[in-house]
């Protein structure tokens, strides 16, 4: 136990103290003293290499980041949604090219595809596709803003996140209702 209140052990599970840690591990522990407790997950652990090359695991708890022990948060859910919508609209891109091809061919090709697109299952797919595109577009702009250094404050992250979801719904509604 150290003064932060968590167990420190090496890879074999033997208790160790600050002195037995490598420089990097010591630096990481010291960092924890200036980060408010609420900001890190209670079940975290640090893995590092000692000067002797053996792995030290500063906890007997599951290694972090372990997705299983994290409560889903708006940030992580939005991040994975960007990926999922990206893959879905990549499939949509293939569908778009088939649609253009059907227009070029005309005749039965065009009739059967456009017949499907105005049917209920077709329309449902289209609305899901619109929502995914609108989400990926808005969240993509948020990504680009981060890339040039805007919006990193945690309050901004939450605010722009909610804005993205709201805008995606508004755009989808706008596209289908106008």
């Amino acid at each position: 136990m150290n003064t932060l209140g968590f167990k420190m052990s090496n890879a074999k599970g033997h208790a160790i103290g600050m002195k037995q840690l490598g420089t990097m591990a010591q630096a990481q522990i010291l960092l924890l003293y200036i980060i408010p407790k609420e900001k890190y997950h209670p079940q975290f652990s640090i893995i590092c290499f000692s000067e002797f090359g053996e792995t030290e695991n500063l906890s007997t708890r599951p290694l972090s980041p372990h997705l299983q022990v994290y409560r889903p948060q708006i940030t992580s859910v939005m991040s994975i949604l960007h990926r999922i919508t990206g893959v879905i609209i990549a499939l949509g891109a293939i569908a778009i090219s088939l649609w253009i091809e059907s227009v070029a061919r005309g005749g039965a090709w065009y009739e059967s595809l456009s017949g499907f697109l105005v049917s209920v299952p077709g329309k449902s797919l289209l609305i899901i596709w619109t929502l995914c595109t609108a989400y990926h577009l808005c969240n993509g702009i948020r990504h680009l803003a981060w890339d040039i250094g805007y919006g990193f404050e945690i309050s901004q992250v939450y605010r722009t996140g909610k804005l993205v979801v709201l805008l995606a719904v508004i755009i989808t509604a706008g596209v289908w209702l106008i």
């Binding site: 253009i100 227009v103 070029a104 680009l144």
Partner: protein, 124 residues
């Protein structure tokens, strides 16, 4: 287009060994896609219920044709770069990973070419 430092390029930094090329291509293609995607979303729905002749007419319009071609190129380019990252994140076996990346690239290239050619066939 070269927006990275010469040193980064020479060293080929990064786990993928290709430095930041990939990152830049993904961002710049995303930037180009912003207006194109807005345009496509708001114009495609009107076309869906239309008869064949009206849709042909719409695609044959030079403005539409140009936008559609640009959209197809950048959409498939960006999608390929994106799928590559997803594959690299989840597939750890090097052989399977390379196979999947090349396969996705080939499939998207094929459909990208199909889209551009179809637009040209309608417009020209």
């Amino acid at each position: 287009m070269r927006l990275e430092l010469p040193l980064a390029r020479v060293k080929g930094l990064g786990t993928s060994g290709e430095g930041s090329h990939h990152w830049w291509r993904q961002r710049l293609s995303a930037l180009v896609l912003i207006p194109l995607t807005f345009w496509f979303l708001f114009s495609i729905v009107d076309q869906l219920g239309q008869g064949h002749y009206m849709v042909q007419e719409w695609i044959a319009d030079p403005f539409t044709a140009c936008c559609l071609i640009l959209y197809s190129i950048f959409m498939f380019y960006h999608a390929q770069l994106g799928l590559q990252v997803v594959i690299e994140d989840y597939v750890h076996n090097r052989g399977i990973r390379l196979t999947l990346v090349l396969f996705s690239r080939a499939v998207l290239l094929l459909f990208g070419i199909l889209a551009v050619f179809s637009v040209l066939r309608i417009a020209l």
